[in-house]
């Protein structure tokens, strides 16, 4: 099973190609091929995970990434650059593959109903499969080159999917924004890759770890530089400050796509990158501190933005940014396993939240939470599953998020950096508040828009089934990965200090939860306030929270630093280089040639050449007068000449 792990990414690729070329002749445009391939991936990666847990099929080699199984095929060679396509299977990549294929499978099933009757159904499924392939390609990769290939493909697939309904300008713009923003981060990744290869001559992850990092051949400074450059890529992909601006707009894509992007693919890639190369980051404390603070800032600012958003998907999008920041914070604090743990549990409940939101939007045809309300009566399945996901994300004891969030808080507490811990705790409080707010406003209370409420209906089983499955995961996965199959058994990490903090961490996390949810309950549950009134009462705060400073800054910067220089350079090129210099040289040489032609014509030809002719002519005309034909005149001239001659001879010889 593990020997054929390469099948897991290859099958979705195959599905994508088949759907593109044969889809139009197949049932459902070939959507079932994508679904089956993803299902196969779920089964096989589940098999690998079980096998790993039971200790079968492993080549035992110890390293920071634990025990792993590696296989590779040569891809191509240029000079001494040998590139390979390979698989690296360890606890982390196996679990990640399971998450990716599972979420992808469920999203595809859900989309059968959600996207039914919409244009370009086949293309939608082809892109979803390609997206899944790209993510799996990087998850399974044993080398950084393949990782980068998957990384970029993930980017382009999200571009295609976010802008899927490209007839709407907002969708087209959001897709482009996502691509360019993440591409800016990727420049760092690119340079990091160049530096890495130039320093060690290979891009194979286990070799880099074993032979260069753990032996100290690669100096800590260089490790730190490479790690931070690669981290730039993660900042873009995982929507960290300052490149977080694309993710809230990415909700322009179809809702199931958002579920996929926000849970298992795309944004997960950045966190996965840091986790995968943790040995590189861990060399330098400075590097980890940068990661931690970027994560902390992201977690906090995005949570603040989420407080006032009224678009249900936008709240969830801000919440994703915030949770990703949480994971980065944890990674930066040495909580390498905790971060990855949260990535896993978050994938389930965030996918569920988006699918639930999709179900609601499908029913009431609006994204605005203030036009919803009381939907629990109409949509029991959505209500219950969304409720489970909400409990999970706010870290209600026993639900998935509780376990992973607690581990994160413990690892942050372990660094004894009070500021970071306060940010983490405060973010937990904010999360509890804004998620409860959405939940109360959408599902409880009285319907605010009776007309929409009357039309609302529960979604069909194709949409219900994935939600139920994910709800089970959102409830159980945390417990499961802590007690039944403890992650610590297959993902080694730093142990020890976690347990001493347990009581502090527990009280903080439960306290934040109670405070946040209670506050939301008191504001939004009973009185169901008018949002406009609230906004007026809290005007400065409200406006502060609504503003997206980074977006405003970038809009100005892009105009100033990209479009304006582009226009100026293009004008410079056209007017100065081309028209002034090049055409100038042409014009000057033409002028010179005109001058030369004039000189040739006037001085040489007319003056010199014709001048002689004219002179001869004039002389001839003058002399002609002498030609009188009178012999007496001739004799007179002769006599005159002779006398002159004689006069001269007498003067000389006389």
């Amino acid at each position: 099973m593990i020997e054929h792990a390469w099948l897991i990414p290859v099958l979705p690729l195959l599905a994508s190609v088949l759907i593109v070329f044969l889809g139009r002749w197949l049932l459902l445009d070939g959507a079932w091929i994508g679904i089956l391939c993803a299902l196969w991936g779920v089964v096989q990666s589940a098999g690998i995970v079980i096998g790993l847990f039971n200790g079968h099929g492993l080549l035992l080699e110890s390293g920071l990434t634990g025990h792993f199984h590696e296989m590779s095929f040569p891809w191509f060679q240029a000079g001494f650059l040998r590139l390979e396509l390979g698989c690296l299977i360890d606890g982390m990549s196996a679990l990640m593959m399971l998450v990716v294929t599972a979420v992808s499978f469920l999203v595809q099933v859900y989309s059968l109903s959600y996207q039914r009757g919409k244009p370009r159904f086949g293309r939608y499924y082809a892109t979803l499969s390609l997206f899944t392939f790209a993510m799996l390609l990087l998850v399974i990769s044993n080398n950084m080159f393949q990782f980068f290939v998957g990384w970029e493909l993930v980017g382009v697939c999200s571009y295609l999917l976010i802008g899927f309904e490209f007839e709407r300008d907002a969708a087209a713009a959001a897709g482009r924004k996502a691509f360019i923003t993440t591409k800016i981060g990727d420049l760092g990744f690119y340079v990091g890759l160049l530096l890495l290869f130039s320093s060690v001559g290979t891009l194979n992850i286990p070799i880099i770890q074993r032979e260069f990092v753990s032996t100290g051949i690669l100096s800590p400074e260089l490790c730190c530089a490479i790690a931070l450059l690669l981290f730039c890529g993660a900042i873009g992909k995982s929507a960290q400050v300052p490149l977080h601006v694309w993710l809230p707009d990415a909700m322009e894509g179809p809702t199931p796509v958002s579920a996929l992007i926000h849970a298992a693919t795309m944004v997960a890639a950045g966190v996965y990158l840091v986790a995968r190369l943790y040995f590189l980051f861990a060399v330098s404390p400075f590097c980890l501190t940068v990661v931690a603070w970027v994560g902390a800032l992201t977690a906090l600012t995005a949570a603040l933005n989420a407080l006032v958003a009224s678009d249900i998907k936008r709240v969830l999008a801000f919440s994703t940014v915030s949770q990703l920041g949480y994971m980065m914070l944890s990674l930066g604090c040495g909580g390498y396993r905790a971060g990855f743990f949260h990535l896993t549990t978050h994938a389930f409940f965030k996918a569920l939240l988006f699918l639930g939101a999709g179900s609601v939007i499908h029913a009431v045809h609006t994204n605005d939470i203030w036009k919803m309300g009381g939907l629990s009566k109409k949509m029991p399945v959505t209500f219950l599953t969304f409720g489970a996901a909400t409990l999970a994300i706010i870290g209600f004891p026993g639900f998935a998020g509780f376990f992973s969030k607690e581990e994160i808080l413990a690892s942050v507490a372990g660094t004894h950096q009070t500021a970071l811990f306060l940010v983490a705790a405060f973010t937990a409080f904010l999360t509890a508040f804004y998620m409860s707010r959405v939940f109360f406003v959408v599902f409880l209370g009285d319907p605010r828009d009776p007309h929409r409420f009357a039309e609302a209906h529960e979604s069909d089983w194709l949409m219900g089934f994935p939600m139920v499955v994910l709800a089970v995961m959102a409830v159980l996965s945390g417990f499961f990965l802590t007690y039944v199959w403890p992650l610590s058994r297959w993902i080694p990490g730093v142990e020890g200090h976690l347990h001493q903090m347990e009581s502090l961490v527990l009280s903080v996390s439960v306290g934040a939860l109670a405070l946040g949810a209670g506050l939301a309950y008191s504001i939004y549950r009973r009185s169901v306030p008018d949002p406009a009134v609230l906004a007026v009462r809290w005007r400065p705060l409200d406006q502060f929270l609504r503003r997206r400073f980074a977006d405003e800054l970038y809009a100005a910067l892009i105009e100033k630093c990209v479009f304006a220089p582009a226009r100026h350079l293009a004008r410079f090129d056209e007017e100065w280089i081309d028209r002034f210099v090049v055409d100038g040289v042409g014009t000057v040489s033409r002028r010179i040639s005109v001058l030369k032609a004039w000189a040739d014509d006037v001085l040489v030809d007319r003056f010199c050449v014709n001048g002689w002719g004219w002179l001869a002519d004039r002389c001839g005309r003058g002399l002609r007068r002498l030609q009188t034909g009178l012999v007496q005149f001739y004799l007179l001239v002769i006599a005159f000449g002779l006398s002159l001659f004689l006069l001269w001879a007498v003067r000389v010889y006389g």
Partner: protein
């Protein structure tokens, strides 16, 4: 007659045959042109199959005396540098002929000049005698002048004369450099291989003078900043098929000339010039990308993107003295090929829309994606290839160029600056896609039809090759490996 002569002169034979056919027999003229370019293509495919990748030196050489008094030879040969460019030239020529089949105006002359141009281009890549090289170099100019000047756009005469004079200006310096080498060598020779063998004989000062003379000639062709401004103009005015050859083949001659002549024959001067070349490469990359960003005319935008992409070639060539020399040089040669495929197809695609809409202004379109799915898909794939998406050919060559230049520690800062070009390239290509294909459909274009068979035949092979070489780059890389390592050796030893 050898295979190389056949490849070079079959198009010429076609050109002469076209001349004797009456203008009215369009089909015959078209058939002859298609056949001539197809035979040349088939022969180069055969050559590709028979090419021995393990040999660094010249293969399939043909050498006979031509002007014994001056030791001039008719000397053709192919090696790892030229083999792919020959294949690229015959392929693009054939596809460009197919794409020209709808031309009505004076088609006899058109195909005559076109096939003559093909002979000229192939001759440049295959000549190993400098004199012969120069003859082909000049032969190429005349057809180009007429093709732009007669079948071009509104400002065709201006563009044609500008192209002609600019290039001629450059070739005067090549001629000077060539004569300089001839008289400096002992015995006097025009044989490039022998000249390279005598490289150590040339004094440093002389090398620099000769290098600068050649550089001036080649830089105009590349085109390297600041000698690039003829290019956007020529592209905008040239008919589609000519743009394809201009971008796909003619631009490669500058880089090819540097690698074939300047590098091996003048290694000391090359080493001295690497740093200026690096700066020029970075300017080409960043400046070209920014200029492209501001363009409204699709052809102008793609033309500026060529300036940007040829900058990557120069960047790869700068690597020659560093630790990643082989990667950089392979990248430069491979970049020539991938740029030919990608930009060639982009010009064909722009031609497709221009033939229908009679405008190339980006702002005039919008939402075409919902009406022209095939056209949109092909254009998107090639734009993605152009911006360096992994899985497509452009990515590998670009990466190798960057990796090569990164091998010299002192160059790293400049490479990082050049990397900015990548994101600007992505930005303007996505802008192009967004403005033309996405958004609300502009009802003005309700009558537009998707691509027809002739257009698909011209474009699809290039798209397939772009994908194929993106997945299997070693197919191309192994062709050049031996030769490229040999060039790198010259600089390692010195």
């Amino acid at each position: 007659m050898g295979i190389l002569s056949a490849i070079v002169f079959v198009p010429l034979a076609g050109a002469l045959a076209v001349l004797v056919v009456p203008e009215k027999k369009r089909n015959v003229i078209q058939a002859i042109s298609v056949m001539a370019s197809l035979v040349s293509l088939a022969l180069s495919v055969w050559l590709l199959a028979r090419f021995d990748v393990s040999v660094a030196g010249v293969q399939f050489a043909e050498k006979t005396g031509w002007i014994p008094l001056f030791n001039v030879h008719y000397f053709l040969g192919v090696d790892g540098l030229s083999i792919l460019l020959v294949a690229l030239t015959t392929l693009l020529s054939f596809l460009a002929v197919v794409a020209s089949l709808h031309i009505e105006l004076r088609i006899r002359e058109y195909f005559f000049w076109f096939l003559l141009l093909e002979t000229g281009m192939l001759g440049v890549f295959l000549s190993l005698d400098f004199f012969l090289f120069y003859v082909f170099w000049e032969v190429m100019l005349v057809p180009m002048y007429f093709l732009v000047g007669i079948w071009g756009g509104p400002k065709k005469e201006y563009a044609a004369i500008k192209f002609f004079l600019y290039t001629l200006f450059g070739s005067v310096f090549i001629l000077l450099g060539m004569l300089g080498l001839y008289f400096a060598s002992d015995p006097h020779t025009f044989d490039m291989i022998e000249l390279a063998g005598q490289a150590s004989r040339f004094a440093f000062g002389f090398q620099i003078a000769a290098f600068l003379a050649f550089y001036l000639g080649f830089a105009i062709k590349i085109p390297a900043f600041p000698f690039h401004t003829w290019l956007p103009l020529a592209h905008v005015e040239a008919p589609t098929a000519v743009s394809v050859l201009l971008a796909g083949v003619l631009l490669k001659m500058g880089v090819y000339g540097l690698l074939r002549i300047s590098y091996p024959i003048l290694p000391q001067a090359t080493r001295w010039f690497l740093f200026p070349l690096l700066i020029i490469a970075v300017i080409n990359i960043v400046y070209g990308a920014f200029c492209a960003m501001a363009q409204k005319d699709m052809k102008r935008m793609v033309a500026y993107s060529s300036i940007n992409h040829m900058g990557y070639c120069l960047l790869g060539m700068v690597a020659v003295a560093g630790s990643n020399a082989a990667a950089g040089l392979s990248g430069a040669v491979f970049q020539m090929v991938t740029h030919g495929l990608i930009t060639g197809s982009l010009f064909l695609l722009v031609g497709v829309i221009y033939d229908r809409a009679h405008t190339r202004n980006i702002d005039d379109f919008g939402g075409l994606g919902s009406r022209l799915p095939v056209f949109t898909a092909l254009m998107t794939v090639q734009a993605m290839a152009s911006l360096g998406l992994p899985g497509l050919a452009g990515f590998i060559s670009e990466f190798l160029c960057f990796l090569g230049a990164f091998g010299t520690a002192a160059y790293r800062v400049f490479v990082v600056v050049a990397v900015i070009g990548i994101v600007v390239t992505a930005a303007f290509l996505l802008k192009l896609i967004k403005d033309v294909f996405l958004g609300k459909f502009n009802e003005k274009w309700a009558g537009l039809t998707d691509m027809n068979a002739r257009e698909l035949i011209a474009v699809v092979p290039l798209v397939i090759l772009t994908v194929y070489l993106g997945l299997q780059p070693h197919v191309a890389l192994r062709m050049m490996e031996a030769t490229v390592s040999q060039i790198a050796m010259i600089f390692k030893a010195g």
